[in-house]
Symmetry: C2
Subunit: 427 residues, 2 copies
């Protein structure tokens, strides 16, 4: 990156050139045979392994610069690559290569009375823009998922992982080259400059079809506010578990503790526990004690605090908070209706769970709770593209349009109608 | 409508109240049984017929006011209702009532190795905002389609059809009432004031999930530019037909003339004819003569004008123009590759057609042309939700996200995942 390029107008011109090249590449990869895309990804995985020393050297440079800038230890940890992490990155690319090709799937097929046959067929979205923060593995995941789904992608990673991303990106590009696919199919903004983000939000002069932000709430909010193209955004996961009086006690304890404590920093981690009033006598203590034993801080309503005076009081703000930490808010509700009303009122329509042995209650919950993922008797931490069998995900979408829940290769497709006739005209 | 309400702040407050009520109604209709929605629509159709005199009186008022404002005769014609048109509106509502319920369809279903079962199930979008111009039938079509798909809708019709829309809307609301559904499920902005549109574009304070503009290019462009919520927009249909040298001559003439001339003002009408150079000797004259005989004005490239010097010259601007009139631009291309390149370069990704007896060429065209609808040997005027068997459409979307092509009840749905377990937790 030459210093001259950091001038705003040069960044703009260069980003638009990237957009033009990505658009042209998109047409090629949209029509590339499955085998050719698989070959590119398999080669990229091999090249990632072969170039482990280069990637580690680039990563060391990012870590040194980040340390000098005073980045926190936990931030630097997320940024750090080692041989095992690079192997995991390469393996993930291979796993994506092995997925069924989502392009060309016939989603629906029907024949009209006039003899026309109509097929709805999955096709790539076009050019996907991915704006992400410091995790260098997103470079490989997003690049591989977009290529597998026949899209071109323009990647813009955080400046803190600039060199690591560049090294990983070079391996993906080499894989494309080996398979005879255009290098611009996986493009990367070569600028640490923030103007590159602005250009992407403006759509690269019409080149981008959709933007996927991967990062914290402030990044996602900025993208949603400023983007002039559709966004697959993941805002937050205010995830609920509702336990009713028919629940199996062991299951309830296991599911609640796992949903909250397995990993507290992921979007599928539970943030609020709702307990049916009729369940309080038998369930409240075992649930709360198990959470406390697992190291979870609790915030409860008055009924909970009557049982466990050591629990901090929950305020209305707690019902709206994604803690992403070992904290859980707990509320007693009259029953299913009040649980659903609480979730609709305070939730984020991401993932919610009912623990019950009452099938009718479970079905009502699964129907009426308007969230991307609704679970019965299973941990909310299953809210994950890998766990859904999608192979990998580029994110979990909290919007309602197009992509909702885990965004894997199928969700990175749109569709078209293929109509076959024998000379039919319209009366 | 009281005069005081026309003040901007009052419109804002009243529109937001409509949004709050629609949001509450959306939860009810999302979970309403099919039978109840059908009952509401069947009742609405009956009430529309019963209230024909009231609707005609309201329409007469719109026509009188429009005439006094100096609206054109063709505009007033589109605005005019009569008994036959009201019967057609009622029949369309009945047809939508008779469609299969799109809500709750299982779109995919899979079991994970850990025993979790996952279903992807169709669910309503939520609250749909529809902003349209003068055609009063849109009030009934949009209201019925949204209810059938379990959505609440906020309708904002053009001020020229204000009284007609109000009368039709009242019948829909009466149908909701008979079936015990909330009246706010089909809401209507009671304001001719333009501020109502601005409020809807801002999303009614979070109440709207999607906006569907129905109208001319300037309305759609304004909505796309200003809307803060997703838009199902129909921009324009620059529709191509490519005829190659293997085509059946009779079919080609029939398809081309029908595609252009059946109705010239609809989005599926052809705007450009591409002829393979090898097809020129046998096909060009019969095609051009048939078009001229049907009353179509032609604009051609040099090769076409060498054959038919009376044809006006086509400029580059012609390749980018949606005439919506009895005009067709005609170009000779080297073959399939150049035809596809022309369509990708100048088209609007709406609807494109190949006329050929060569199956391999047809398949390549159907795969590689990146348009919502691609046809082989059939008139482009089939680009229509009714012709696709969708029962009716709220529009044809030219975007790539979520809804593409005809937007019927299925496209007015999103989906969620229902996950059923037996106590599974994540390792």
């Amino acid at each position: 990156m030459s210093v001259a390029l950091s001038a705003e107008t040069d960044v703009r011109a260069a980003m638009r050139e990237i957009g033009v090249a990505a658009r042209a590449a998109a047409r090629v990869v949209a029509n590339a045979p499955s085998e050719q895309k698989t070959r590119a990804l398999t080669a990229a995985a091999r090249i990632l392994r072969e170039h482990t020393p280069d990637i580690l050297a680039a990563n060391a440079r990012d870590l040194a610069e980040g340390g000098a800038r005073g980045l926190s230890a936990s931030f630097l940890d997320r940024l750090t690559l080692n041989e095992a992490r690079i192997e995991a990155i390469a393996k993930a690319v291979e796993d994506i290569a092995a997925l069924p090709d989502p392009v060309g799937r016939v989603l629906a097929s029907f024949e009209r009375p006039n003899g026309l046959t109509i097929e709805r067929v999955a096709t790539p979205l076009g050019v996907v823009g991915v704006i992400y923060e410091s995790r260098p593995n997103v470079t490989a995941d997003a690049g591989a998922l977009c290529l597998k789904s026949g899209n071109a992608v323009v990647l813009r990673g955080g400046s803190d992982s600039f060199h690591s991303s560049a090294a990983i990106h070079a391996c993906l590009v080499a894989g494309l080259g080996e398979a005879g696919l255009p290098e611009a199919a996986i493009s990367r903004a070569p600028f640490a400059a923030r103007e590159a983000v602005g250009e992407m939000l403006a759509g690269l002069d019409g080149a981008l079809d959709v933007i996927v932000p991967r990062g914290g709430k402030s990044l996602v909010e900025r993208v949603q506010r400023e983007a002039r193209v559709p966004v697959f955004a993941h805002l937050e996961g205010i995830v609920h578990i509702y336990v009713d009086e028919t629940a199996d006690l062991d299951k309830a304890v296991r599911i609640v503790v796992n949903s909250k404590m397995r990993r507290t920093g992921i979007c599928g981690a539970a943030e609020t526990l709702l307990i049916a009033r009729a369940a309080v006598p038998r369930f409240a203590r075992p649930l709360l004690d198990a959470l406390t034993a697992a190291g979870c801080a609790l915030r409860g309503d008055d009924e909970i605090r009557a049982l466990r005076p050591d629990v901090a009081p929950a305020t209305e703000e707690d019902w709206r908070t994604e803690y992403l930490d070992a904290i859980l808010s707990v509320r007693v509700v009259a029953g299913l209706d009040e649980a659903i009303a609480h979730i609709e009122n305070f939730g984020s329509h991401h993932t919610d769970c009912i623990v019950t042995q009452d099938k009718a209650a479970a079905e009502r919950f699964l129907c009426e709770v308007d969230s991307a993922i609704v679970l019965h008797n299973a941990s909310t931490q299953f809210a994950d593209g890998g766990e859904f069998g999608f192979g990998a995900e580029i994110g979990i979408a909290t919007g309602r349009m197009h992509a909702r829940g885990p965004v894997g290769v199928e969700q990175l497709c749109t569709f078209k109608y293929r109509v076959r006739g024998e000379g039919q005209i319209r009366a």
